[in-house]
């Protein structure tokens, strides 16, 4: 249903992305395609620029060089109005959730709906309840973000990202800081989204379990570039020393 475009064209295409902050080069020529309806997992040590990469994709930061296309639209050069049309189709989860701390959990999730849907107040409330139930947070409706744990914030953030029924999800460490059971539930949710609605996702994670549960493809970011990319099986058979090292280290934990 969501496959309106030519389905052979990737939903997200990154070409030769460069990004530096002052002297510090963070991304140094990233090339990646995300096929429509698939989940790409981006792995890498902390501080390698995974969060920066996601922010480039939604146009919160501009690359110094390179092109990004989402559904064929050139995010890097779109005027704000059209960029915002593209952003409405993307659900974004920030690494620290970035909930609005002057609003309740309920109003946080309702925010995108109030801004961008024609739903009535009662319909919005209904939808918010549904979304929060999906992430197991329906009991926290009236809580303020300051009064819930980091893991709970993540889940509320995920509900907010799902509010507008996005075609694309960009998730920054969705299960970091969660207990294994909840982390598994979140993974399951992401997989369901992908299977039921054909959502395309880019998920940044440290959690090796996600490689087996949700990933169609895995990309490893190191020193500003993609050092390996492929299906989980392909990656496990890789003999690239960095990949082998990284997978081993993570397995031991």
């Amino acid at each position: 249903m969501k496959m309106e475009n030519n389905s052979s064209e990737p939903a997200i295409r990154m070409q030769d992305l460069h990004k530096a902050f002052g002297q510090q080069v963070v991304l140094n020529g990233v090339n990646l395609d995300v096929p429509r309806g698939q989940t790409l997992l981006v792995l890498g040590r902390s501080g390698t620029g995974k969060s920066v990469l996601l922010k480039l994709l939604i146009g919160l930061q501009k690359p110094d060089q390179g092109e990004i296309e989402i559904n064929g639209a050139p995010v890097t050069s779109l005027p704000l109005k059209e960029l915002n049309e593209t952003r409405k189709k993307i659900g974004f989860l920030f690494q620290n959730a970035a909930l609005y701390d002057s609003l309740t959990v309920e109003e946080n999730v309702a925010f995108p709906l109030r801004r961008h849907s024609d739903l009535q107040d009662s319909e919005i409330r209904e939808r918010v309840r549904e979304l929060l139930a999906q992430v197991g947070m329906e009991s926290a409706l009236q809580k303020m973000p300051a009064n819930i744990s980091g893991g709970m914030k993540k889940r509320v953030g995920l509900a907010r990202a799902l509010a507008l029924d996005p075609e694309i999800m960009l998730l920054d460490e969705p299960n970091a800081g969660l207990d294994p059971i909840t982390a598994g539930e979140i993974d399951e949710l992401i997989r369901d989204m992908q299977q039921e609605r054909g959502i395309t996702s880019v998920v940044v994670t440290h959690d090796m379990r996600s490689v087996h549960t949700i990933a169609d493809r895995v990309a490893m970011l190191n020193r500003g570039a993609i050092v390996a990319e492929g299906t989980p099986e392909e990656l496990k058979q890789s003999d690239d020393p960095f990949v082998v090292n990284f997978l081993q280290e993570k397995q031991e934990k």
């Binding site: 919160l60 952003r87 909930l99 701390d101 002057s102 925010f111 801004r115």
Partner: protein
């Protein structure tokens, strides 16, 4: 090595001389401020308008500051009344007391006291609020939800300040004049009616209007400094503190400087 070589081979990252650095940073700051104002004007004039959020901010900034402003205005009225009375009695011009109090409150004390009190309350509030939203990526989150944070956060706050400052100034004026009368009445039983009649005898629209315009400009300065310092906050909790403090300092300073310029202009245009 020739002189030319010596110059061209100077390393790029030479340590900057202290004063030069301050000068450069000041110029950069004003440059960024100019850009920020330009963005504000553009965002304020183009739809969509954030009416609901504007109302919420007007309540937050205006209604909730009323007690504080009323208290400050009232205190100034008492002080003015006591001080002026003393001087006027010495010159045998006691009958001028009402007009002196009314004039000085409407023209100067009312607007400036309101603006300084609001610099403290609102400048700090906006600076800290937007600063903490900035450093915790909430502003990025707004942007990622396809909402323009400039329209949603900045325009609404600055406009609310501009609309509420004149109203709050009127409230301060009212309280100041009332307490001025009370303080005077303690030693000299002038009826309120007479005090008001005498006080407003010579006061016209030309006196009130420029003062309210002045209050509007002060409102702009307070909102602008809070938003500007808040939106450029960086560096965690410490950055939020810096944003809030600098917003108060800068808005008080610019309110006083603007007052000098505005009084000069008002005297020119409303002689």
């Amino acid at each position: 090595m020739t002189a030319k070589e010596a110059i061209t081979s100077t390393p790029v990252a030479q340590p900057e001389w202290g004063l030069l650095k301050i000068l450069r940073e000041t110029f950069e700051w004003f440059g960024e401020l100019g850009l920020f104002v330009w963005r504000f004007i553009r965002a304020a004039l183009t739809p969509p308008y954030e009416g609901r959020e504007l109302l919420r901010q007007m309540d937050e900034i205006g209604a909730k500051s009323l007690p504080l402003v009323a208290l400050a205005g009232g205190a100034i009225g008492v002080v003015l009344s006591m001080q002026t009375r003393d001087s006027l009695v010495r010159f045998g011009a006691k009958s001028f007391l009402p007009i002196v109090i009314v004039m000085s409150i409407i023209k100067e004390s009312g607007p400036i006291i309101t603006a300084l009190v609001m610099s403290g309350r609102i400048g700090a509030g906006i600076g800290a609020e937007l600063g903490s939203m900035k450093v915790t990526e909430q502003i990025d989150a707004i942007e990622a939800s396809a909402v323009n944070p400039h329209k949603f956060l900045v325009v609404t706050r600055i406009l609310a300040c501009m609309l509420m400052l004149p109203l709050l100034t009127l409230a301060a004026d009212f309280c100041g004049i009332m307490t001025g009368w009370v303080a005077n009445a303690l030693s000299d039983r002038t009826p309120l009616q007479l005090f008001i009649n005498n006080g407003f005898e010579d006061v016209g629209f030309d006196d009130l209007f420029p003062s309210l315009l002045k209050a509007l400009v002060f409102g702009f300065i307070i909102g602008l400094m809070g938003c500007f310092q808040g939106m450029r906050a960086s560096g965690g909790t410490e950055g939020v503190g810096r944003a809030s403090t600098s917003a108060v300092v800068l808005s008080s300073l610019f309110v006083i400087l603007a007052d000098v310029v505005l009084v000069r202009l008002i005297i020119m245009f409303f002689p």
